[in-house]
Amino acid sequence: MSENLIAIPKLGVGLAYQPALRPFLETRGDTFDYLEVVPDILWTDLGSDKTPRYIDDKDGIDFLRRVADGRPVVPHGIGLSIGTAHRFNRGQLDQIEKWHGWFQFPWHSDHLAWNLAEHGVDELNAGVTLPLPRDQETLDALAPRVAEVRRRLPVPFLLENNVYFFSMPGEEMSDAEFLNALCEQTGCGLLLDLHNVYCNARNHRTDPYRLLGELDLRNVVEIHVAGGMEHEGWYLDAHSGPLPEPVWELLRWCLPRCPNLGGVTFEMMGSWFVDMGSDRLVQELFALREAWQRWQPVPMHLAEVAA
């Protein structure tokens, strides 16, 4: 476990920002303790050959400042593509550094995945987070990149466990072994997405509690929860509404066992807000806060976890 995870502030329950949630955020500031934001949606990357390369959405950033009203704004990027082999997206890091100057967030995160790949003179963007093989070669490639992120930003950097729909031959580690080794070898923290854990367990018929039981939960700084949906026999991480009961059960299991947890964030795609409705969202966020207050900020003692 990295030393810098010990001083994580206990923020509480966060809501993931979506433009469709703006009216809700303006009127129901009582429902969240922090805002999580995919910062990439509040800038436009014109490409590395353009100057300036990034155009910031100043209205969007002003909106965040206003509705956060002094509460933390935590970036959760999608553009780093930390597992991409052919280059490291340092432009994204420049942007996150700028955001740290603006928001002084207590941690930041991205996905343990890749979406950018070489393509002739151009670059493909798959638009979905693709899984990395769970092996030492992957960890060796990630280590210097995580080190660079940690050098440049003075707050913990978390990577989120991914959803995957297939495994690859020759993988050397289980999910838990890979995530533990990642944190141990690189010093990053873990953003544990419990809905992703649930998706993978359901699609691949594995036991999510086995994974969680083998995971070093001292590395978990943030938890994501969400709802999903069935599609042609697959369960998708669609962020399409309230938490299904099995995800609530996973959360109740994890909350007392994560001593360095800083917050639980509810994620929902803006397009599903109309279906879910404001009242149901309030209900979900208050239920999460109740669970948070029951188990945090006084987590179970490490000795009890070990037992």
Binding site: P52, H119, L124, A126, G127, V128, P169, H231
Partner: protein, 203 residues
């Protein structure tokens, strides 16, 4: 850099169904790159895994939702069948290169304009002008460096644009009436503003 070649082919399996089918059929012969044995084995395995199909569905769904979100009236004017056909052809020629889909939506409008020019059978007589109008709106909203103003947009209509666009916006089939005119768009006070002109503007 075989890891980079591995990922390039992996991404193509997600994005390009013809390539995926080719790998399924021809096996390692379709993987024209300097790969390790394990990388080849992994690509061959995932190309045939049902999980690759759902990954592709998610990729397509995300990309299509971005296009439909930026060009709702053009998509309505195309109709379901022509939309599926034209999008498939556009994607075949234009792999996804950015997370920012405004440029892709503009390129799709240009693609449709070229297809109409080539004699594509348009599903509706007003497709070209609706696509040109939405393209102009995107140009006006395109993020620009501070101090750079978007250029004035002029769109030529042969059908009365106001009832036409309103009906499409409501999801109703328009009953277009002929009315040659221009729509002139500008960006003022953070908003796109349009005005109708019967004649060409003095530029």
């Amino acid at each position: 850099m075989s890891a980079a070649a591995f990922q390039a082919l992996f991404a193509r399996l997600v994005i390009d169904p013809e390539f995926r089918d080719d790998v399924r059929q021809r096996g390692a012969a379709a993987l024209d790159a300097d790969l390790t044995d394990l990388e080849s084995e992994r690509l061959l395995f995932v190309s045939g895994d049902p999980g690759m199909d759902v990954t592709r569905t998610l990729h397509k769904g995300f990309r299509l939702s971005k296009l439909m979100g930026q060009l709702p009236l053009t998509c309505a004017a195309l109709g379901k069948e022509a939309l599926a056909r034209e999008v498939a052809e556009f994607w075949r020629r234009n792999p996804p290169v950015s997370f920012y889909y405004l440029a892709e939506a503009v390129a799709f409008c240009d693609f449709l304009a070229a297809r109409l020019e080539e004699g594509m059978e348009a599903p509706t007589p007003y497709l070209g002008e609706v696509a040109a109008w939405e393209r102009a709106g995107l140009e006006l909203q395109r993020p620009r460096p501070e101090g750079e103003a978007p250029p004035l947009q002029v769109v030529e209509f042969t059908h009365d644009p106001l009832p036409l666009l309103a009906a499409l916006g409501r999801g109703e089939p328009p009953e277009p009436t002929e009315r040659p005119c221009l729509m002139i768009g500008g960006y003022d006070g953070g908003k796109v503003e349009w005005r109708l002109a019967e004649d060409a503007p003095a530029v």
